[in-house]
Symmetry: C2
Subunit: 305 residues, 2 copies
């Protein structure tokens, strides 16, 4: 199965309900979110720049691909790109896995020297002031417990108030570990959400991207038995073999992904169906969907020249 | 560490933010949800009846404890108790693990005869008509994308409209797999949510309980590579060694748990702090919390006479 087919199948799975019996083959029908994704025209997709793809390889050669969000956290993302270019994460490890919360990786000794040229970070990366720019927002017209408004901007889910927009801590989203304020974290210590969205962290920590491939390699790791899910000295910390920007990989090894244009008619149809499932399984459409339960469709495209 | 201490520590962990540096010891302070739980008086706790605890042991002797919700899904829960008494699940397996969705277990052949005396189930178990009973509701005063109102009833989170209340598909919640309607499932095929709450399933399928101990044994299982995360013939289906009601276990082996009284002042304080974190890490309290991000505190109490 090619990456592209796998990505399309995954999109289908994500949108499919629970069956006791053998699942029917996911036959596209414009009545399901997965069918809308499968049938979206080329014009509904946007290539993700190779400079914004972080390729992490962990023990066993398992690959995790993270899409970075420079428009939302430019200082932290700049540092993360510099750390990847310096191959700084190579030889570090996954140090914390807390159930229904986060997987966290970085230098367990907290003594590894950082490469020169990192920028100071700032809580300014926690949210984007709306005054700074005219954001084209696709609104999500459903209530949210954490923000006055939610929607999608340039392929990303956002929560908003009158003053700013910020990335939410949805499943698979990646943030920058930090100690107590005012330190905002360098970008060297990263975590990914592996449970129900801990939205209480929004605007208290920098969200820098999302896992778009290989998420199961992180979410199925053994949970740590120490406080906060940190692995204890006796437990096995999965090695991080390498972290590279896709742009630094040879053409033939470079993963390529596209995300759905959140201003496209296809995405509007996808959102409507995520909020009101029409497939046969659903007798009672929800009439709503929350910001973290309508993941922006992403698909792999063939690698190599 | 005793079960009770572990449960209290877990409660502390669940409520603790992400740290890059070594986490501080979880020192109780009335300013955190975990401290409220740790300091709650005995009067704030309610014992969970042994008839409502399902003890599942899977490969490796790993124990998963599920609290059943007979008040919300009486037909399905009655069947599940009968299936446990008949030891029907012994020798079955975990057959499906779909990332950010569900773990599902039961008879992979779908041919194992069911014990006599199961009752017909019904979609009537999907929600409780408010007209039927006067429910004492502790409201959750924050917006919800899926329902006009949410709150807590008798230790359970509920979503509500003018006519009914129903259990949401939160992380760790357990439902009954079914095929297409009108079949509502017997109760023999069960699943647990291992990702962001798939609330679109609410009122389309029976929610019968929640995992209150050993959740990580399910959530860290390898994801299946077949459609919908079903394991393929080549993949290892973790055996279900036994499923028993706690009431059927010898006194000394019987797990005992208490849940917080959701009408207690302690729970009200817990909810306020889940919505507005006051610990030092949080510079910006959220001002809200969603129904699935305020899990009802549960603690183990010493087993045996």
């Amino acid at each position: 199965m090619t990456l592209r087919h796998r990505a399309m199948l995954l999109a289908a799975l994500i949108a499919t309900p629970v069956f006791a019996a053998d699942p029917p083959a996911a036959t596209p029908s414009a009545a399901t979110p997965s069918a809308v994704v499968a049938q979206a025209p080329a014009a509904a997709w946007r290539a993700i720049p190779a400079e914004e793809l972080l390729v992490m390889t962990i023990e066993g050669g398992k690959r995790v691909v993270i899409q970075l969000a420079p428009a939302f956290a430019p200082r932290h993302v700049g540092n993360i790109q510099a750390l990847a270019r310096a191959q700084w994460w190579d030889g570090t490890s996954i140090n914390r896995v807390q159930d229904n919360y986060v997987v966290q990786w970085g230098d367990v000794t907290e003594k590894k020297p950082l490469p020169p040229g990192l920028s100071p970070t700032s809580p300014a990366d926690y949210a984007v002031p709306l005054a700074n720019r005219r954001l084209a927002v696709t609104p999500l017209p459903h209530a949210d417990a954490y923000a006055p408004a939610t929607g999608f901007v340039a392929g990303w889910p956002v929560a908003m108030d009158g003053a700013a927009a910020w990335l939410p801590h949805c499943y698979g989203f990646v943030g920058v570990g930090r100690s107590m304020s005012p330190d905002a974290g360098t970008g060297a210590e990263l975590y990914a959400v592996i449970g129900h969205a801990p939205r209480q962290l929004d605007r208290n920590i920098a969200v820098v991207g999302r896992v778009i491939d290989g998420m199961a390699h992180l979410s199925s790791l053994p949970r740590g038995t120490g406080e906060l899910g940190f692995y204890t000295a006796q437990e096995h910390k999965a090695p991080v073999l390498s972290v590279r920007l896709a742009s630094a990989l040879p053409e033939a090894e470079r993963p390529r992904f596209e995300m759905m244009d959140t201003a496209s008619p296809s995405f509007a149809a996808y959102l409507r169906l995520r909020a009101n499932r029409r497939d046969d399984f659903y007798d009672r459409p929800a009439g709503g969907v929350d910001l973290c339960n309508a993941p922006v469709p992403v698909r792999a495209t063939p690698s190599g020249p």
